[in-house]
Symmetry: C2
Subunit: 309 residues, 2 copies
Amino acid sequence: MKRIAVSAGDLNGIGIELALRNHRRLSQQADLVYCIDRPMLEQAAALLDLPIPEDFQTTEYLAESFTIRAGEVDAASGRYSYASFVKAVEMAREGAVDAIVTLPIHKKAWELAGIRYKGHTDALRDFFKADAIMMLGSPKMYVALFTEHIPLRNVADAINEKDLTRFLIDFYHAIEDQISNSDQKIAVLGLNPHAGDDGVLGDEEYIIKKAIANAHQTLGKEPFTDPLVPDVAFVPHTRAHYTFYIAMYHDQGLAPLKALYFDEGINISLHLPILRTSVDHGTAFDIAYGNHQLNNLSYLNAVGYLLER
Amino acid sequence: MKRIAVSAGDLNGIGIELALRNHRRLSQQADLVYCIDRPMLEQAAALLDLPIPEDFQTTEYLAESFTIRAGEVDAASGRYSYASFVKAVEMAREGAVDAIVTLPIHKKAWELAGIRYKGHTDALRDFFKADAIMMLGSPKMYVALFTEHIPLRNVADAINEKDLTRFLIDFYHAIEDQISNSDQKIAVLGLNPHAGDDGVLGDEEYIIKKAIANAHQTLGKEPFTDPLVPDVAFVPHTRAHYTFYIAMYHDQGLAPLKALYFDEGINISLHLPILRTSVDHGTAFDIAYGNHQLNNLSYLNAVGYLLER
């Protein structure tokens, strides 16, 4: 059974409730250890009026205890969620677990706590000094982003042969084990409307084609498609052919993905020494500790992805 | 009953079959006149082995007759489809019909025929010397494009206060009659990831906000949203609030739209002296005259949109 560390996320949010409510179900498939100490867990469980499962494994002291206040942006809570995340990463780095799942943190709470990272992925890149690849998706469709959080104005100039070639090769190696059928191609999107219409609407597709050719040569096989027409790449009969997409920029991939599979989405960090998935939703402060029906699909998929690796 | 002219599209494609097969159903709702002459209609109907409905209204001679060859890109067929389109436009311009529906032409056939327009919309802009607004969609969701067929590299610079203000006002007037409830806003998308995150990921959202404020001032009402985060704008619970979206660029609007509603999509030309809709698919040369089951949703929606105006 795979051993997975789960970071607690911001304890003023819904993360710990997801962990408690789904433990019984997930514990049949994985050996889970939760990065939270006993006093904080007991406080959260009492507030939620939920029992703590007997086999709910926790960690030792992580950071200063604080009083949970549902939905509050709070430095102490930010500090704790960061410590929980760091603990999960350390366990994976040391080989004490096979992979980690991160529950949602609150960026502003990290900022109040003086943590200099904008989020998990940002921190992981720095911890490992590695170009983590961000992939989002659901079991039906995954989208990796070649450029991420940059202005749209800067996207076209970021498309260069060297970096894209590297990205394609790294990406292929990161998901190689998930491609069962060598006929199944990885969809690479063009940049421009109609994928440039042979250069009439932009010429970055020529760069993308070169990078694909380079990657094919290095890999000694041809797993990538030609640059696809972006607005047709996600229609049902195209989708039927692909599980993995490479988007040139943030909204090109994420707008169709979220339109289709919003509730079940997860975030995966590839090309790191450790494997990490995350739910693709936030702390949901507005419904935390409110006895609401939580949508647990994203959390279940985040764990499920790791079990299939 | 509304009177609608239907242009025949490229007769080597599926357009005329759609017209013949759906006539009975549509003729109960609209008074349709088809821009095709009798000899060409008879040739097509014979090839399709379909009867010509008794009340199938046609036009006089349009262009030189030719032998229909299913799926062929052909200058004579291009010439004919252009003449059919021009006839439909003329009828609308003269008030002989209330609106027009265009069946798919083949761009290459137009080119072979020496026609200097890339497509219907391009021609309409020139005929009327007007900035037609291109809107695509299905009855569930419509997306108007502020920029259309330009390289992604040029999109950010095309976002300027003056043109966008004009566009918003023109768009509002063009669809005003379709907004039944004044609480129902028109969704305006931001340009950058996370709609710029307060300027961190791009600053065009400030321009978009100014244009919205200008339009609201001119209109004396506030039909537009603030710039929405593009990758969240199309998730189910956001979609529930909007029918009309304004996208800053081609793929931003069309990739989510087609991912969701591909088969039923139509193309609408707004802000012209005449009202025109079109199917949002091509000539389907591969299945023309092949006795295939055609998807008629787009054609039915193209007519349906006009009936509701």
